[in-house]
Amino acid sequence: MSHVAPHAEPLIRLSKRDAMPSWKGMLVRILGILLGVALSSLFIVLVTDLNPIEVFTSLFDGCFGTPRRIWNLFQNTAILLCISLAVTPAYKMKFWNIGAEGQVLMGAAATAACMIYFGNTINQWLLIPIMIVASLFAGMVWGMIPAFFKAYFNTNETLFTLMMNYVATQIVAFLITYWENPKGSNSVGVINAATKAGWFPYLFGKQYLVNIIVVVVLTAIMYIYLKYSKHGYEISVVGESENTARYIGINVKKVILRTMALSGALCGLAGLLLVAGSGHTVSTSTAGGRGFTAILVSWLAKFNPAVMTLTSFLIVFFERGAAQIATAFRMNESLADIITGIILFFIIGSEFFLNYKVNFRHKHKEVA
């Protein structure tokens, strides 16, 4: 019989694979990162006259070069992690909250307001609790508004939370015109620079230690909350299937409101850490896009707070390292961004290979 194959089998075919053992999974991920590093090195060699080893050295140098840089690395990781933890319950509930940016800003604005208006009149030990309550409340309100409309009118939360970001930015811009120092400068400057009222104390002389401790504790709490609490269980059920939730009698509206209240409040907390724990000022860029990066962190970690410590660290590591590359080689940050992009691409790509197997075309047994 003549051997006719009118349509050749494709060279590459994908098929779904089973869960592989976790050590193998880690290996694939590490391999992914190494490949990413290799490709970016190639890229560096091809388009610049820099030595890739020097470039990667300065990446590490930017993160670990001095004790200060290490503290910065952890501080930035802590803030990003805090916001990631905040958005996680909402995402686990499949509530597409892209409004973390605005919720953080509102928390930051509330903190700054307390520092400005009560800084000189209220005792430090009373002021800080007031700031905590105010920031959590502000973030909570900002999170609950879209949740309310989602729960009762089924509005699209993605658009709603996105719009709330713009509103928050405008509110902060408006407040700045009230608080600006000096007048007309369009910036608030360091609040209570002289009295340090409302500033978080420097534990052991380290400015960011309070922030880091708060976020570490928060990570543990969030882990337990999601995994072992009834609320966490309800969040999972609502997220997986709203119908199932209704079927077993979960009040879906209540869960949506409660979860977004939590999510928003924690974003508010991040705002508090940003203002009282580090920046001591507020501006429209206080959140600095972390509200969006946090979504990436949360998803990469598959909503597991423990894994999120790693993913947020990774993102900040590249960010800080990239800035150092830009400075050291007087490039603009694009080069570093490209390197980060390539490596992240491979990290996310390795997730693909964890789920799918690639089959190459193979020769069939010849049939007579």
Binding site: P6, H7, P10, R13, R246, I248, N251
Partner: protein, 511 residues
């Protein structure tokens, strides 16, 4: 015509999804001009196998020969170039287009698009095989049977010589099935080869020339229909002889448990979905509900479970313990529970409503009971014990209780769901299509569980699609059509034909 060369020949076809073996070393021959039934239990790999012929999947190993030539089919388009067309269980039609537009859609031809001319050629095909179809009717206003007709004509219009129909009768009434079979015979007469996937033995006997049986992804042989009988086929399908009788006991201690009066309900679009439904479900009996899919069965059960907003009507529950009567109308599931009503519900959408696919068995079993206690934290101890008991008692095939239920097969998913719902010793147990997608053994496990509950004094409401099962299992059967009750019959005396007529009777009893 060379009669010696088969239309399709499969040799050693294998298909894997991860560790799951869908097909292994399948050999199959489809002759020209025959109707071949592919018989097998759910999950035996029938649809996967056919999807490989239709270009949806590619085999991991093995060869496909079309008219004796080695073929490699990567897409439905390739399949059409081999004159193969498949009619899937879920229709792939565009709702807002007319029948004719759907039929010509996607055909690339040079020249001007002339719907009038196309319609004429479509009509020729219809006349040839006896299809009755209004070509200008929009899909959204069509019945399931009409949509199926459109799908078949669409495939024929593309010049298919080999037609594959995936469970075409599942959605049809007995009368519509007869019509479909007539058309199939007409096509066969024209020399077309037809493959029909089914698990209904009576249909296999009625329509096909030959039967190929698949078991657990492997071909176990093929027989000529005239040389076989349902018992033999069942044995081939299941691998051992299975007792096909359902042990039906006489209802005992019948009391009115659930009284439904003049129930009316509209869906989100405002269309009436249940109108004036009245019935009484008694303790110690299985009350069957028959009807074409989408006739309001789902909404009816959901109304009772507190998941649908009602327009009017009463849902009265007689509590056997307190003797009180509670009205469940417009109460939430939570409020119903707080009234002490022991109502269990196995919804038709198991993973979309009854269970959470990504959660493990323990967490799924916990769905009903997690609220117990005042602690803010979950107690997984009792649910774990219960999960293990369900796995043991109902023979759930799973690596352990921590396996996400979506990884389980359909039958095992259903066992987990039914096991959980029975665990609370319900006074009313509502089940919707509980054996859909289950193999014969699992189906009988479920029937037995329902009978056990019935003998224990529960009132069972059973929504089913297989009329043979309904007649064999239930005590009384209510038939609904378009949201209206068209009759309540005694299951012991009724016939399939009687129920079939009631299923398509519009307007209801009183008109």
């Amino acid at each position: 015509m060379e009669t010696t060369v088969p239309a399709i020949e499969l040799r050693g076809i294998c298909k894997y999804f991860g560790k799951i073996v869908a097909n292994k070393n399948v050999n199959l021959i489809v002759e020209k001009g025959e109707i071949l039934s592919i018989l097998g239990e759910n999950g035996s790999g029938k649809t996967t196998l056919m999807n490989m012929i239709a270009g949806i999947y590619q085999p991991d190993d093995g060869m496909i020969y079309i008219n004796g030539q080695e073929a490699s089919i990567h897409s439905p388009k390739d399949a059409f170039s081999y004159k193969i067309g498949m009619i899937h269980q879920h229709f792939k039609l565009i709702d807002v287009f007319s029948a004719a537009e759907n039929i010509v859609l996607g055909i690339k031809e040079k020249g001007k698009y002339d719907l009038k001319k196309e319609k004429e050629s479509i009509r020729t095909i219809c006349d040839k095989y006896g299809f009755i179809i209004d070509l200008d009717k929009k899909i959204y206003s069509m019945s399931v049977s009409e949509k199926q007709t459109v799908e078949i004509v669409k495939v024929l219009y593309r010049g298919a010589d080999i037609l594959i129909l995936d469970e075409p009768t599942a959605v049809l009434t007995p009368q519509e099935t007869v019509k479909l079979f007539d058309v199939m015979r007409a096509m066969k007469k024209d020399g077309k080869s037809i493959v029909i996937i089914t698990h209904k033995l009576n249909e296999v006997m009625e329509i096909s020339d030959r039967v190929a049986v698949l078991r657990k992804g492997e071909s176990v042989g093929s027989v000529l229909t005239k040389d076989t009988n349902p018992e033999e086929l069942t044995a081939l399908m299941v691998g051992k002889k299975v007792e096909l009788n359902i042990d039906r006991s006489e209802p005992k201690n019948c009391e009115d448990r659930l009284i439904i009066r003049d129930l009316n309900c509209r869906n989100r679009e405002g269309a009436k979905i249940i109108s004036n439904v009245t019935f009484t479900a008694k303790s110690g009996e299985i009350f069957g509900i028959a009807g074409i899919a989408g006739s309001g069965q789902r909404e009816l059960l959901e109304s009772i479970a507190g998941l649908q907003k009602l327009e009017s009507g009463e849902i009265l529950y007689n509590d056997p313990e307190s003797g009180k009567q509670e009205n469940l109308r417009n109460k939430t599931p939570m409020q119903i529970r707080h009234l002490g009503v022991r109502l269990s519900f196995v919804p038709e959408d198991r993973l979309g409503m009854g269970l959470v696919g990504n959660m493990d068995i323990i967490d799924n079993v916990m769905l009903r009971s997690y609220r117990k206690g005042h602690s803010a934290f979950l107690r997984r101890k009792e649910p774990k014990t219960l999960a293990e008991k369900i796995i043991r008692d109902l023979e759930v095939v799973t690596p352990d209780a921590k396996t996400p239920v979506r990884r389980l097969s359909g039958g095992n998913v259903q066992k987990v769901l039914v096991g959980r719902e029975i665990a609370s010793a319900p006074k009313v147990l509502m089940v919707a299509y509980p054996v859909r997608g289950l193999d014969i053994n699992s189906s009988y496990t479920i029937y037995n569980l329902l009978n056990e509950q019935k003998n224990g004094g529960a009132s069972i409401i059973f929504v089913g699609e297989d009329l043979d099962v309904l007649i064999a299992l239930c005590d009384r059967i209510m038939v609904i059509c378009g949201g209206q009750v068209t009759g309540i019959v005694d299951a012991r005396t009724t016939t399939k034909e009687e129920i079939g007529l009631l299923m398509t009777k519009t307007g209801g009893e009183e008109q």
